[in-house]
C-alpha cells in the first residue's frame, strides 16, 4: 500500500477548503481593516456609527437568546418522548424531522401566510368571533409581534436539527446506566438530570454550537416576516454589500458576525467541556 495514498485522497478536499474557505476568510478579514489601500478601522467606525448597527446587533442577540433556549428544551422533550414510544417511533421521528429540509426563506413565508393581515390567524380569530376586523400584525407599530412571529418561525424550522443530534446521542448512552440508577432508587427526573444529561454532553455541545451559529446567521426569515422593519446583522451585511455597494463595511459586519460566532463556540466548548477520555 503506497504511503502517499491517504494524502492523495485528501488532496481535493483540502485544496478546495484552502481556496474556498481559508483564503476567502482571510480576504474578508483584510478587507475589513483596510480602506483606500491602507490599514484602518474606518470600516468598523462607519459600520458602528450607523444607527442601524446597534439595532441589528441587539435584534440578532435577542433572537438567538429567545430562540435557542426554547429549541433546547423542545428538542430534548421531543427526543426523550420519542424514545419512550413503543409503536410508530420512526413515523413520529420522521414527522418531527420534516422541517430539517425546509429553507429559512420558505419557513418565513409559511409563517407569513399565518400572520399577514388576510392570513390564517386573522381568519381563525374572526371565524371564532374573537375579533371583528382583521388585525395588521406585521407592522412597524408592533415590532414585538414581528419578533414573536420570527421566534415562532425559527423555533418551528430549526428545532429539528438539534433533535436529530440529540436522538442520535441518546442512542449511544448504554441502557445499563439508567437501569443502575433505577436500582438505586433514582426517580425519573433524577435519572434524566444525573445520568442522561451528563452523558449527553457531547451531543448537546454539537447541537448548541450548530444552532447558535445558525441563529447569528438569521436572515431570510427576518426579511420575509419583518421586511426592513427588523434589521439583523446578516441583513445589514447584505444591505451594505448589495444596496449601498460598500464592500468594506459589509466585510466589517462579516467580521462582527464571525467574532460572535467564534466567541460563542468557545464559550459552549468550555461550558460543556467533554474530557478526552469520555469521548466516544
Amino acid at each position: 500500500m503506497p504511503r502517499y495514498l491517504p494524502y492523495l485522497l485528501l488532496l481535493p478536499a483540502t485544496v478546495f477548503l484552502i481556496i474556498f474557505f481559508l483564503y476567502p476568510f482571510t480576504q474578508v478579514a483584510i478587507e475589513s481593516v483596510t480602506s483606500n489601500g491602507e490599514w484602518s478601522l474606518a470600516n468598523f467606525q462607519k459600520a458602528t456609527s450607523h444607527w442601524k448597527f446597534g439595532e441589528a446587533f441587539k435584534n440578532t442577540m435577542l433572537l438567538a437568546a429567545l430562540v435557542v433556549p426554547i429549541q433546547l428544551v423542545m428538542s430534548l422533550t421531543m427526543a426523550t418522548v420519542v424514545q419512550k414510544l413503543q409503536k410508530g417511533r420512526s413515523a413520529i421521528l420522521y414527522i418531527f424531522a420534516i422541517p430539517l429540509g425546509i429553507s429559512d426563506l420558505a419557513a418565513g413565508l409559511i409563517w407569513l401566510s399565518i400572520f399577514e393581515q388576510s392570513g390564517f390567524l386573522n381568519s381563525m380569530l374572526v371565524g371564532l368571533g374573537l375579533i371583528e376586523q382583521p388585525i395588521l400584525y406585521l407592522s412597524y407599530q408592533s415590532p414585538w409581534i414581528i419578533l414573536f412571529a420570527i421566534v415562532l418561525a425559527e423555533v418551528w424550522r430549526a428545532t429539528a436539527i438539534m433533535m436529530v443530534i440529540i436522538v442520535a446521542g441518546l442512542g449511544l448512552i448504554p441502557r445499563e446506566y439508567g437501569e443502575a440508577a433505577e436500582v438505586f432508587g433514582a426517580t425519573r427526573w433524577q435519572r434524566f438530570y444525573k445520568v442522561t444529561l451528563p452523558m449527553l454532553r457531547p451531543s448537546l455541545q454539537t447541537a448548541l454550537i450548530l444552532r447558535v451559529i445558525l441563529a447569528f446567521e438569521v436572515f431570510a426569515v427576518v426579511i420575509a416576516l419583518g421586511g426592513t422593519q427588523m434589521p439583523v446583522l446578516m441583513s445589514e451585511t447584505f444591505n451594505w454589500q448589495f444596496n449601498l455597494q460598500d464592500r468594506g463595511v459589509a466585510a466589517a459586519y462579516a467580521m462582527v458576525i464571525l467574532a460572535v460566532s467564534v466567541l460563542f463556540t468557545l464559550i459552549i466548548l468550555r461550558a460543556l467541556h467533554v474530557p478526552k477520555e469520555a469521548r466516544t
Partner: protein, 277 residues
C-alpha cells in the same frame, strides 16, 4: 422500588393521556404550517388575497400556474436545480475520498485535516459569498452556476466528509482484505466490495448536499443577478410580489425538499447524528 410501582393506576393512565396528547400536539405543530402553505398554493389568487380564508383548499392550480408563468421563474427553477446538482457532485466527489481516507488510514496530519473540517462549523459560511464575489468577478465566474455551486460546496463538503467517514467506518476492513487475498487491487476491492455496500448511504449524503444548496438564500442572493436561483428570486421579489406568487413559490421550494427528506429518512438519524459529533 421504582417510582412507577407506587403510583396509582389512575395517575398512570392520566400520565399516558398527557404523553399521547403531547405527541399529537407536537405533530400538529410541525405539520399544520406546511398544510396551511399548501392550502394557499392550491387556491386561486383571489382566494389567497381575500379574507377570511378557508382552511380547505379549492384545489385550483391558477396560483401555481401564475407562478410558473411569471417572468424568470422557470429560469430560476432551472438554475436552482443546476447549482444543486453541481454542489452534489463536487461535495461527494471531493468529500467521499477524504471520508474513505479518514476511515481506513492512520497517518500524520490526519488530525489537522479533521480540525480543518470541523472548524468550518464555527464559521458563518454564507458570508464567504462576500470575498468570493470579488474573486469570481476577476476569473469570470460572477453570476454563474459554477460560482454559486462552489460556495454551496463549502457548506456541503464538511458534511459529506464526516458522513462518508462514518459510513466507511461501518464497513469492516476485513472485507477488503479478503478481496486483496483473492487477488483484487486496492481499487478493485473498493469498487467491487466497499462501494456496493456504501452506495445507498453515499446517495443519501448526496441528497443532503442537494437540499443544502437548494435551500440556501444569502450566498445565492449575493452572487447571482441575472442567473438567480429560486431562493434568490423569491428573496429579491419579496418587496413587490403579490401574496399568491410568494406562497406558490414557497410551496415550490418546500415540495422537493420534503420528497428528498422522505427518500433518505432511513439515514436521517444515523447520518446527521454521527456526522455532527
Amino acid at each position: 422500588m421504582s417510582d412507577t410501582a407506587t403510583v396509582a393506576p389512575s395517575v398512570r393512565k392520566a400520565g399516558r393521556w398527557v404523553f399521547v396528547s403531547g405527541i399529537v400536539l407536537l405533530c400538529v405543530w410541525t405539520l399544520l404550517p406546511i398544510y396551511l402553505l399548501m392550502v394557499n398554493a392550491l387556491s386561486t389568487p383571489e382566494e389567497v388575497n381575500g379574507f377570511p380564508k378557508s382552511f380547505i383548499p379549492s384545489f385550483d392550480l391558477s396560483s401555481l400556474r401564475f407562478f410558473l408563468e411569471f417572468e424568470g421563474v422557470l429560469n430560476a427553477l432551472w438554475n436552482s436545480i443546476r447549482v444543486a446538482v453541481v454542489t452534489m457532485i463536487l461535495s461527494i466527489g471531493f468529500g467521499a475520498p477524504a471520508g474513505y481516507a479518514l476511515s481506513r488510514f492512520d497517518f500524520p496530519g490526519k488530525e489537522v485535516f479533521r480540525f480543518l473540517v470541523v472548524m468550518t462549523r464555527a464559521f458563518p459560511l454564507p458570508l464567504l459569498a462576500l470575498p468570493l464575489a470579488v474573486m469570481f468577478l476577476r476569473v469570470g465566474l460572477d453570476d454563474s452556476v459554477l460560482g454559486l455551486a462552489l460556495v454551496h460546496t463549502t457548506l456541503a463538503l464538511p458534511f459529506a466528509v464526516l458522513i462518508t467517514y462514518s459510513l466507511f467506518s461501518g464497513i469492516p476492513f476485513e472485507l477488503e482484505e479478503a478481496a486483496f487475498t483473492l487477488g483484487c487491487t486496492r481499487f478493485q476491492a473498493f469498487r467491487k466490495v466497499v462501494l456496493p455496500l456504501a452506495a445507498p448511504g453515499i446517495a443519501a449524503s448526496a441528497v443532503f448536499a442537494f437540499v443544502i444548496s437548494w435551500n440556501e438564500v444569502f450566498a445565492a442572493a449575493v452572487l447571482t443577478i441575472k442567473n438567480r436561483t429560486l431562493t434568490a428570486f423569491l428573496m429579491q421579489s419579496l418587496d413587490w410580489s403579490p401574496l399568491h406568487l410568494k406562497f406558490a413559490g414557497a410551496a415550490a421550494l418546500v415540495l422537493p425538499a420534503l420528497i428528498f427528506i422522505f427518500a433518505v429518512r432511513k439515514y436521517l438519524f444515523a447520518m446527521w447524528g454521527i456526522a455532527n459529533r
